[in-house]
Symmetry: D5
Subunit: 91 residues, 10 copies
């Protein structure tokens, strides 16, 4: 089941640099693990913004929330989830 997820990242300036880099590295590893697992099926950078559009393929709202809320960057993100359905014209 697919969801479009819009994530805006705002890392506060007073977060120590090492801590920020550590979190960003964890975020990358976490997202790549989910990508390999086929859960995080698309991850695109929004041109010009520290933000992304992603598509997740999961079994339920709860699974999606679990995944998103465990994002290392979650505390610094504004997230909007749009549930997607099959389009009658999609081949």
């Amino acid at each position: 089941m697919l969801y479009l997820v819009h994530m805006i990242v705002r890392i506060p300036r007073d977060l120590p640099k090492e801590e920020a880099q550590k979190i960003i590295a964890e975020e990358k590893a976490y997202s790549q693990e989910l990508q390999r697992a086929g859960k995080w099926v698309h991850l695109w950078r929004i041109t010009g913004e520290y933000a992304n559009y992603s598509v997740f393929d999961v079994e339920s709202n709860d699974e999606l929330h679990d995944i998103l809320s465990k994002l290392p960057l979650f505390p610094f993100m504004k997230i909007k989830v749009t549930p997607l359905a099959k389009h009658p014209s999609a081949i």
Copy 2:
């Protein structure tokens, strides 16, 4: 799986009265059938507005879209779907 659905109804004035009443009756029957089936679990009127908040319990985004797009009033509705997950404090 639960979804909160916000529906604003705007029936155009130039829709013939009988046709409007027919659709509204169909809408009521359709919604009550889904309520009895346990799909449409909550249906509340927003005080002062021709609009409602509803909660649906369905298996997937696709099932929800199928249900909503077949609402007789669908062509006259502005709909927003918010996917819900289990809250850690909910008993």
Copy 3:
């Protein structure tokens, strides 16, 4: 009498961790007490957000305000209240 309440939680980063955890624990206890009392009838997590939709069943606006303003997390919340009425199609 029912109200839909939208709560967005923003715990400031500079709130000491223990204090934050204490407040969150108090919030959980407080909400579960109200759930058991039948006041807080629904509590759903909005998928992907540190926010919830809740439904309260109380006697008056004042009682609802009293309940909400005593939420341990109240100082860190953005809250919107929508009064609900009985829908003519609701069974």
Copy 4:
């Protein structure tokens, strides 16, 4: 119990003049009856707009919805209801 109600009126131009005047007259009578009954406690015109802020004193959300949805101008109104509570500083 008090509610602040914001009403924007948009009477469509193609509504026959007599019908519009009839509805407006009914609206006035309806509102004055509720004012005399102590339900509609304040009715103020928003300067420069075909809109008003009103305050209602009713027993429940349902009673308020019943009153508002029976406004003759209801089909031509955009309404927002804000539930009010007692302010700790109000004398």
Copy 5:
């Protein structure tokens, strides 16, 4: 002459508690004095929010601004003023 005033209060967390309580007490005294003087004619808490809707009866925009800008909480408020006029249906 009447004005509807919407006030959202945001007291910064790093304002020392005593100072905050002192200002809140001053605010209460200030508002009650104006209520007794018939200037501040209505003061309602918005259910679920640290905000209020108030109605002022003053002689001019300038008098209203003078009153509002001297609110002890003024530096921590977001205020919107809506000028009100007599409604033709108001009794």
Copy 6:
């Protein structure tokens, strides 16, 4: 007493041309009469829009509403009124 008034004009296309021109001419005469009377003290076109910012100098909210609601173009306008006060730096 001064008010800034923002007026957006939307004349419906299906208003017969002569009727539109008649109303526009009446609007011009009406506004120039008020300008001569010192009530309508500024009238500026917003560059690129069929809209204006105006400043009125009147005795009360009611007088302003009376003036604005009698604008021949009033039924085709979206109006926002901002009450102005004396600025402490204004000479």
Copy 7:
């Protein structure tokens, strides 16, 4: 090069049914042709709305505009285009 495109469809009620169905059929054929050509790489229905999120893989802004402006439903659509770039964490 990827673009996320948000399309909201509003087919006016007074469009003759056959004409509407003809356009919708043309839209389906047109979109499926582009899907087969690898231009229209994703087409998802937004749950509960007559709207979709799509992803296009094209050579330029101009090519995208050419494709979108030739959509049979283009005159009845509200479209927003978000240019996408490669995300550093995307595998």
Copy 8:
């Protein structure tokens, strides 16, 4: 002197086709004349929308308003004007 102008075009469906085409042709001629005259210095289509961003180089706000209000499509446009100044880093 430069201005960025955002123009959204909404040609009503019930405008006879020939009349619409005539206006669009006049619009093209009018804009190309201004482009040749160096007034309309940039004209870009917003990808995916019946809208454009343009830059005008004119002597005054009044001249710009005169130009824009004489656009054949002006009655069917939503226009926003942003005055531009020289950027200190611009070479």
Copy 9:
């Protein structure tokens, strides 16, 4: 040439009091100098807000930007500029 300028002032609380008062005094002197020079032709306080509407009469966008960007309070302001043109009904 006239411009309407909307200025919202937000002086951060952690700006030392003396520094704030110094800047405010400089702002007053700066604005009164421009008022005397006929550049800053209107300066009105928005009732209830630490904000103003002003009208400037300058030669160009660049001159206006130069004036505004040199406002001592500029770093603490949110500013919106609306270019004004002569209204055909203005006497």
Copy 10:
């Protein structure tokens, strides 16, 4: 390929002055280098705001994102990118 880019700059007050000036100088050098390279084809200050509208001529979304994300002021900017296409009336 052209893109309109809207950049709002908000340099936090607690950024040490020298560091801020260093970044601003780097930004200027970086932007002028791109201007000379023909990538950053227009750079205009929005009158009255610490913001700009720019036009970039680049090969792809990715190239644009690379350029923008390397702006020294990027961490202090709110950026919106609008992809532009050739306008049929542009000469």
